[in-house]
């Protein structure tokens, strides 16, 4: 008897909650931009005239929190926009657990008006129909570096303008090079030069290695492209990673570790390459320009320089990691949102943002002005000319994990590079097929 009442009540509650949930969910997506936005624009004049603030459109700009200096600077840029546009009021919202929050707000139908998108994540959002294309609103799009524009182009559409970017370059410890009597690395270095220098700089007695290399696809992939290899074909129809070029790249990369001229950060008491390099445990490292503020902050006495990555048998190559400002398809104020985006990535906003020296301008027209202020960072900026994008298909994390895991085992000597590549190819083809199947529904 008692049990039955309990169950009845529980069932009633469940139904009630489901009804509530059912009401709440469709409400948001059913009032998307097409209908809502014009209504918003048409209504105000007479009806809302009494309230002066009624015409101010409130926008939210969501991103992930970064360093204190960057957060402050972004707020300043936003403040300038707010001043210049009295009809728009932008609130900056920098949050932790960014990806999860963004995903929840998109699925819930009430996304922020403008938000960060990592190039790696772009395909997921585009294919979920979450984005409004930037292309029709684009402000001088040809001024962006082609490699970066390409990183935010999916299915032939330019979806969102890059706000800044980073490339991989070769950092070297000048003191260790001087002590070994070696010339500093130059942009025309080849793999052989890198290997010879790493060998000469390795000093096992002092626990110093020539270079620090992590079992990380996002680093090794630069060598893959330098060798002339590739991960997939153009249209992502199949993996091309199990190639002689890829094998050469992996044997070179892993070989440096197996021969004792390179070590992983974990073997150098470090969480990542930059830390091992900063501690002087490795004479060289391959990292992006984010290493610059880190080293200045944590290892101010380190005497270091940076140059472009060496060339492999297939020429010069690096990776570009970049983030753009996206506008959601379900946004309420898309016109205003694009005005904000065009300010932030326009000449004025971007110059303000990149003058901090932490992020690099994505517009060619700002290159010279920026280099005058930060000449030492030129190698990173030069990478934009020949960088590859860090982007695959949705669901590709599984392939990355497989390659990371394989690199780890290859560096430990428990797996052969050819087996790592064969496995990556098999898993990759499976994921590509899975992606096609999900997409072609």
């Amino acid at each position: 008897m008692r049990h039955r009442t309990l169950w009845t009540l529980l069932a009633a509650l469940t139904v009630l909650a489901m009804v509530l949930a059912a009401c709440a969910v469709p409400a948001a997506p059913q009032a998307p931009a097409e209908e809502a936005a014009p209504a918003q624009e048409a209504a105000p004049a007479e009806e809302m005239a009494p309230e002066e603030e009624a015409q101010v459109v409130e926008l939210t700009l969501m991103g992930w929190a970064s360093s204190e200096a960057e957060n402050t600077r972004l707020q300043q840029v936003v403040d300038v926009f707010n001043e210049q546009n009295p009809d728009i009021q932008v609130t900056l919202n920098l949050v932790p657990s960014y990806d999860e929050k963004l995903q929840a707000s998109l699925a819930g139908g009430s996304p922020p008006d403008v938000f960060y998108i990592d190039s790696f994540r772009l395909p997921d959002l585009v294919e979920a129909g979450a984005l409004e294309p930037y292309e029709p609103q684009a402000l001088d799009p040809d001024d962006f570096y082609p490699s970066l524009r390409n990183a935010f182009t999916w299915d032939g559409t330019f979806w969102c303008p890059p706000k800044d970017f980073s490339t991989l370059a070769l950092e070297y410890n000048k003191d260790l090079f001087d002590a070994a009597g070696l010339d500093y690395p130059t942009p025309d270095w080849t793999w052989d030069d890198l290997r010879a220098a790493a060998e000469a700089l390795t000093d096992p007695d002092n626990g110093v290695y020539g270079i620090v290399l992590s079992a990380d696809f996002a680093r090794w992939i630069a060598f893959l492209y330098q060798a002339g290899g590739s991960v997939t074909d153009e249209g992502y129809t199949q993996m091309t990673i199990n190639s002689p070029e890829a094998l050469e790249a992996m044997e070179f990369y892993v070989g440096l570790v197996l021969d004792g001229y390179a070590a992983q950060p974990s073997d150098l008491d470090s969480g990542w390459n930059g830390e091992a390099f900063g501690k002087g445990r490795a004479a060289m490292a391959i990292e992006g320009n984010w290493i610059n503020p880190y080293l200045q902050d944590q290892f101010p006495d380190l005497n270091w320089g940076v140059t472009e990555l060496p060339s492999g048998p297939g020429g010069q190559a690096t990776m570009a990691f970049t983030v753009c400002y996206g506008v959601p398809a379900a946004g309420m104020y898309k016109e205003e949102s694009f005005r904000l985006v065009n300010f932030l990535t326009g000449p004025e906003g971007m110059q303000m943002w990149t003058d901090l020296g932490l992020a690099m301008p994505t517009r060619r027209s700002l290159r010279e002005g920026w280099l005058e202020k930060f000449p030492a960072l030129e190698p990173f900026l030069n990478g934009a000319e020949y960088a590859h994008k860090w982007q695959f298909v949705p669901g590709f994390s599984d392939v990355m994990d497989t390659i990371n895991s394989g690199l780890q085992e290859a560096m430990a000597g428990t797996k052969l590079p050819e087996d790592v590549l064969a496995e990556a190819e098999a898993v990759g083809n499976e994921i590509l097929a899975r992606w096609r199947e999900r997409k072609g529904q």
């Binding site: 009540l9 529980l10 509650l13 469940t14 009630l16 909650a17 489901m18 509530l20 949930a21 969910v25 469709p26 948001a28 997506p29 990806d99 999860e100 995903q103 998109l106 699925a107 819930g108 139908g109 997921d124 959002l125 294919e127 979920a128 129909g129 979450a130 079992a215 992983q264 974990s266 073997d267 150098l268 008491d269 969480g271 949705p394 669901g395 994390s397 599984d398 994990d401 497989t402 990371n404 895991s405 780890q408 085992e409 430990a412 898993v427 499976e430 994921i431 899975r434 999900r438 529904q441």
Partner: protein, 344 residues
């Protein structure tokens, strides 16, 4: 007359009672029951977790097939995670339960000095944020970290420092190596594949990295379990002990014959909590290893997250979560059977 009066009173009491629990039930319903039903439903869809859930399509048992039978990477990762999580639970649950029981008995001693200090000290890790603890253990487990240092000191330098969290070798594999059994030299059947993994993989034991996280996890949760045991110990009436002493039982006999049997319901509770907690281990993995090295710290809860948020396959992630629920449910039932059978 009198009876209807009592009945009326009882009805009023019942209404009052329901009113009192109504807020709690409503909250439970909205934040627990509905999400569970929601998750169960969407585990049969191809929802990507980004577009509104209303756009998801029903795809039947496809997600479950991919996880359990497909023979592909999703199945492999699922069983890898199941294997890792099971080793994790097999290590952590006995360790933390045993340690908690011992600590509880110790701090329950009447004559103990600084009792409150010890109770607080043992409980402290449990109330500290697991993220903060994980970040500190990242340092302790470094190659030149404190753990290696202590091991070096107590073995008089014979210990070779290892990078704990980057070490993918399985414990049982390490034990088998001196016996001359490796993947290459071992018998053929070890290379046979069961549910996407070779038998050799299944018997790896937890990797060094996973073991490190297991030890850390035991250390953090022991305090919570100790408090539960302590409360139960203080519920045991003192006359039972006095009677045993009069009968001439020594401390050892008292512990095994009096304390432990009287703690059995609590023991069941602690083991159940432990099983549920270990099968859901997530934050340490997220902060410390992200499933690596070589996928040896991939856990069930972590692949739920990875499928749902990294791979934009929320439907698949939810199917993983439902399977995880089923596994925990079955294990708890099984454990209850075992405990009850012993009592009966």
């Amino acid at each position: 007359m009198a009876t209807t009066g009592i009945r009326g009173q009882a009805r009023q009491d019942a209404i009052a009672g329901w009113l009192f629990v109504a807020p709690a039930l409503a909250i439970l319903g909205i934040f627990l029951v509905v999400p569970i039903l929601f998750a169960a439903y969407y585990s049969f869809t191809d929802w990507n977790g980004i577009s509104p859930p209303t756009e998801a399509r029903l795809i039947g048992l496809r997600n479950y097939y991919d996880l359990l039978l497909s023979g592909g990477i999703k199945q492999q990762d699922f069983f890898k995670a199941l294997k890792n999580t099971t080793y994790f639970a097999l290590g952590v649950v006995p360790l933390q339960t045993g340690a908690a029981l011992v600590l509880a008995v110790i701090v329950n001693q009447r004559g103990l000095r600084f009792k409150d200090f010890f109770r607080t000290a043992y409980y402290f890790p449990s109330i500290t944020s697991s993220i903060a603890i994980s970040l500190i253990f990242l340092f302790l487990y470094q190659k030149s970290g404190l753990v290696n240092y202590v091991l070096e000191v107590i073995t008089f330098g014979r210990w070779e420092p290892i990078a704990w969290l980057a070490d993918a070798r399985g414990l049982f594999h390490i034990l088998l190596e001196p016996l001359g059994i490796t993947l290459r030299t071992g018998p053929e059947f070890l290379r046979a594949k069961v549910a996407g993994l070779t038998l050799w993989d299944w018997i790896s034991g937890p990797s060094v990295a996973l073991t490190a996280i297991m030890l850390q996890n035991s250390w953090t949760t022991t305090g919570t379990m100790m408090v539960i045991f302590l409360a139960a110990l203080q519920d045991i009436p003192s006359f039972v002990y006095e009677a045993a002493q009069i009968d001439g039982a020594n401390n050892w006999q008292i512990f095994w014959k009096i304390t432990l049997p009287l703690l059995r319901p609590t023991l069941f509770f602690v083991i159940t909590l432990g099983l549920i907690g270990t099968y859901q281990v997530f934050d340490q993995i997220y902060v410390m290893t992200s499933g690596g090295p070589a996928k040896t710290t991939l856990t069930m809860a972590y692949i739920v997250y990875r499928n749902g948020f990294r791979n934009s396959e929320m439907g698949l992630g939810l199917a993983t979560a439902v399977l995880l629920f089923a596994i925990i449910f079955l294990l708890t039932m099984l454990q209850r059977r075992i405990t009850e059978a012993r009592e009966g």
